[in-house]
C-alpha cells in the first residue's frame, strides 16, 4: 500500500499556524496595552489623612462649600467682619458640600459650608458639624410661568417628563442639579419616589444638569418655561427674578416650615476640624449668637433652635 503523506505540506501548514499564532499573540498583547493610572499603584489609604499639605491661612478666615449656604453665610461674614475688624474673612464661591468637606479636611479652608448631612465616609474624617440655619427648598420657576402651584404628583410628573406643558401651553423645561445635591436630597426625604424619578431622568439624559446653585438660579431666571429646585434664602437674599411655586397649595416661608405645612427643608451647617481655629470658633459662635440668628432670620432662613425636631 502506498503512503501519500506529504511531510512538506504539513511542515508548511505548521509554519503558517505558528505565524498565525504569533500574529494573534502580538495583536492581543498590543490591543490590551494600556497605561495604568499611577493611583492604582499607591497603597496608602487616602482616608487616613489629608491628601495635601495644609495651606497657611495667613490670618485669613476661609470659608467654602455649598452654594445654598453662601447668601446667609456672606451676610454673617460681613456682620462678623464688622465686629471683628482685625479678622479678614473670605467666603469662596460654591464648591459644593462635598468639596467643602474635602477642602476642610485638607485644611485648604478653615470652615466648610454644607447643606446636607455628612455621608457615611465623611463621618469618619473627624470633622465637626455645626448647624446654623435651615431654609425651605423651593420649586422655582421662570418668571414667565403662569402656574403658581404644584402638587407632589405634579412635581413627580414634571421630572418624569410626563407633564410637558404649563397650563398656558408653554413647554416645561426642567433643570436638574447633579446627583447628591442637597435640594434634591431634601425633596427625596419628603417624597421618596422623587429619587427614583430624578435618577431615571439622569440616566435618560432627559434634562439639563447644572452643577452649582448659582448656575441653577441663573438658568431658572433666564430660561422660559423652566423649573428647578433651589432654596428660598438664595432667592430672597439675591432678589432673584424667579417665581416660587406653592407645593400642595402651601407657600414656602418660615411660618409654613415652622408649622411643618411646607415639606421641603434643608439644614445649613459649618464643618470644621475637631479643634477649629480660634477665628473659626469665633465665627461659629457669632452665627449662633442672637445677632447671628437675627441675621439668619432676616435673610429668610430659620435659625436652628427655632425648628427643633426637623430631620
Amino acid at each position: 500500500m502506498r503512503v501519500y503523506m506529504s511531510p512538506r505540506s504539513w511542515a508548511l501548514v505548521v509554519a503558517l499556524l505558528v505565524v498565525l499564532l504569533a500574529i494573534a499573540v502580538v495583536a492581543i498583547t498590543t490591543a490590551d496595552q494600556g497605561k495604568r493610572p499611577p493611583f492604582l499603584q499607591e497603597h496608602e489609604p487616602i482616608t487616613h489623612g489629608p491628601s495635601r499639605p495644609p495651606v497657611p491661612s495667613g490670618g485669613l478666615l476661609r470659608l467654602a462649600g455649598s452654594g445654598s449656604n453662601l447668601p446667609v453665610t456672606r451676610a454673617l461674614a460681613d456682620a462678623f467682619a464688622s465686629t471683628h475688624p482685625h479678622q479678614r474673612v473670605l467666603v469662596h464661591e460654591s464648591i459644593g458640600s462635598t468639596g467643602g468637606i474635602r477642602a476642610a479636611y485638607d485644611r485648604v479652608i478653615d470652615v466648610a459650608l454644607v447643606s446636607r448631612p455628612l455621608k457615611e465616609d465623611e463621618q469618619g474624617l473627624g470633622l465637626v458639624v455645626v448647624p446654623y440655619a435651615r431654609v425651605p427648598v423651593v420649586v422655582a420657576a421662570n418668571a414667565s410661568v403662569v402656574d403658581d402651584n404644584l402638587s407632589l404628583e405634579d412635581l413627580l410628573s414634571l421630572y418624569a417628563g410626563e407633564a410637558t406643558h404649563w397650563s398656558d401651553g408653554t413647554p416645561i423645561v426642567v433643570l436638574q442639579r447633579e446627583r447628591g445635591d442637597s435640594s434634591h436630597m431634601a425633596v427625596t426625604r419628603s417624597v421618596p419616589e422623587f429619587e427614583r424619578v430624578n435618577d431615571r431622568a439622569y440616566r435618560e439624559g432627559r434634562w439639563r444638569v447644572l452643577y452649582s446653585d448659582s448656575a441653577m438660579q441663573e438658568a431658572i431666571a433666564g430660561t422660559e418655561g423652566s423649573v428647578g429646585l433651589t432654596d428660598l434664602g438664595a432667592i430672597e437674599s439675591l432678589r432673584l427674578p424667579v417665581k416660587v411655586l406653592r407645593v400642595n397649595g402651601v407657600s414656602p416661608e418660615a411660618a409654613t416650615v415652622r408649622s411643618r405645612a411646607y415639606p421641603f427643608v434643608k439644614e445649613l451647617a459649618f464643618v470644621t476640624a475637631r479643634v477649629p481655629s480660634p477665628a473659626s470658633a469665633e465665627l461659629i459662635a457669632f452665627a449662633r449668637s442672637a445677632r447671628g440668628r437675627a441675621i439668619v432670620r432676616d435673610g429668610g432662613y430659620i435659625p436652628p433652635d427655632e425648628l427643633e425636631g426637623l430631620p
Partner: protein, 445 residues
Amino acid sequence: MIHHEARSPSVDLPKYLAARMLPLAVLLASVVAVSAPLAYYVLGMRALQAEVQSAAEQASRTISREASDRPNLWRYDSIKLVEHLRAYRTSPNITWIEVVDDTARPIGTTPRSELDALGQRSLLWASAPVTIHAQEIGRVWAAAETKPVRDGAVRLLVPFLLLGCGLASLMYWLPIGAVRDAEKRIAALFQSLEQSQIALAGLNESLEREVSVRSRELSLAYEELKRKEERLRELSAKAIGLQEGERKRIGRELHDSTGQAMTAIRLQLQIIRERPETSEHVRALAARAIGLVDSTLEEVRRAVAALGPAILHDVGLGPAVRRLADDFSERTDIKMGCTLDGLPDGLPAAVETACYRIVQETLTNVARHARASRVSIGMVAIPERISVTVEDDGIGFEVETSLRSDTHGLVGMRERVELLGGAFELTSSPGRGTRLHVELPLMGS
C-alpha cells in the same frame, strides 16, 4: 485497441488527494477559527480604547472649564462633577472615571479599597489632561472593562471553529467525493469500453470472415465472368469471323460463278445482236436482254461489295484504308491525313473488317454531316492491340443525343467494337470537331 495496462492506476487518486488536502483543511479550519475572533478582539479593543480616550477627553474638557473658574479650589469643586460624570457616564462601556491632581492623587472620595478593587480588574485605561491656560494641573483617567470584548471574542471562537471545520470539511470532502465519483465513472467507462472493444473485435472478426468469403465468392464470380466474357468475346470474334468468311464465300461465289455466267450470257447476246442474219426484232430483244444483264451484273457487284470489302483480300488493310481515304478526298475535296503504322499482315479478318468498316462508316458520316475541311486517320498496331483514330474539324454534334437516337450508325459501330472486346471512345461537341478512337485486342482474336 486499448490495453488494460494503460488504465491500471499506479496512484490511488482519492487517497493522494486526501493526503494533499488534509493539511490545507487543517489550515483553513485554524485560520477561520482564529481570524474572526482575533479580528473581533483587536477591533473591539481599538474601539474601546477610542471610546475610553474620548470619555477621558470629554471629562477633561468639562473639568478644565470648572478649573479655569476655580484655580485654587477646583479639585474640591470638581468632586461632585466627577461623581456625576461617573454615575451618569455617556457610554455604558465606561466603567470608571477618576480625576487626579498635580500630585497624581485622586481628588474624589473614592475609598482605597475601591481603587484596589479597580486595580484587580481587567480595565483599559486612557487619560486626558486637565489644564488651565494650557498648563496641566491634573489628569482625568477613564476606564472600560475589557472582559466583554474578550468574552465576545471567546464566544466567537466556538461558532467560527465550527464554521472553519465545516468549510474545511467541504474543502476536503467535495473534491475527494468528486474524484471518487469521477473514478467510478471512468471505471464504468473503461468497462463499457472493454465490452465495446470485445464486441468490436468479434464483429471485426466476423466481418473479416464475411468479407473474405464474399471476396472469394466475388473473385470467383469475377473470374467466371471474365472467363465468360473471354469466351463470349472469342465466340463473338469467331462468329464475326465466320460471318465474314461466309460473306466472303458468298461474295466469291456471286462474283466467280454468277458474275462469270452473266458475263457469258452477255457475250452470247452481244453475238446474237451483232449477227447480220439476226432480225431487227431479235436484235432489239437481244439489246434489251443485254441491258437487263448489265443491270443484274451491277446488282451482283453491289451485293458482293456489301457482303465484304473484297479489296481487303486483294491488297490488305493498310492499302485498302489508304485507297478509301484517297477516294474520299477525291470525291469530297476534303483534305485527308492518313497515318498507318506497323500494321502487320495476317490480322484476324474480323479485326481487319471492323477497322475498315469503322473508317468507312466514319468517313461517310463526315461527308454527310460534318462539313469538315480536314480529316485525319491514324491506325497503329502493337502486339496486343490495334488502335484506330479518326478526327475531323467539322461542326461536331452531341454524342449522347446521337447515341440515343442512333442517327449516325454509331451504336452499330460501338456494338461491333464491344463484340470484339475493344474500347470505343467518341469525343465531340458542337463546333469543336469530332474524334473517334477505337482499340481492338489482337490476342486471341
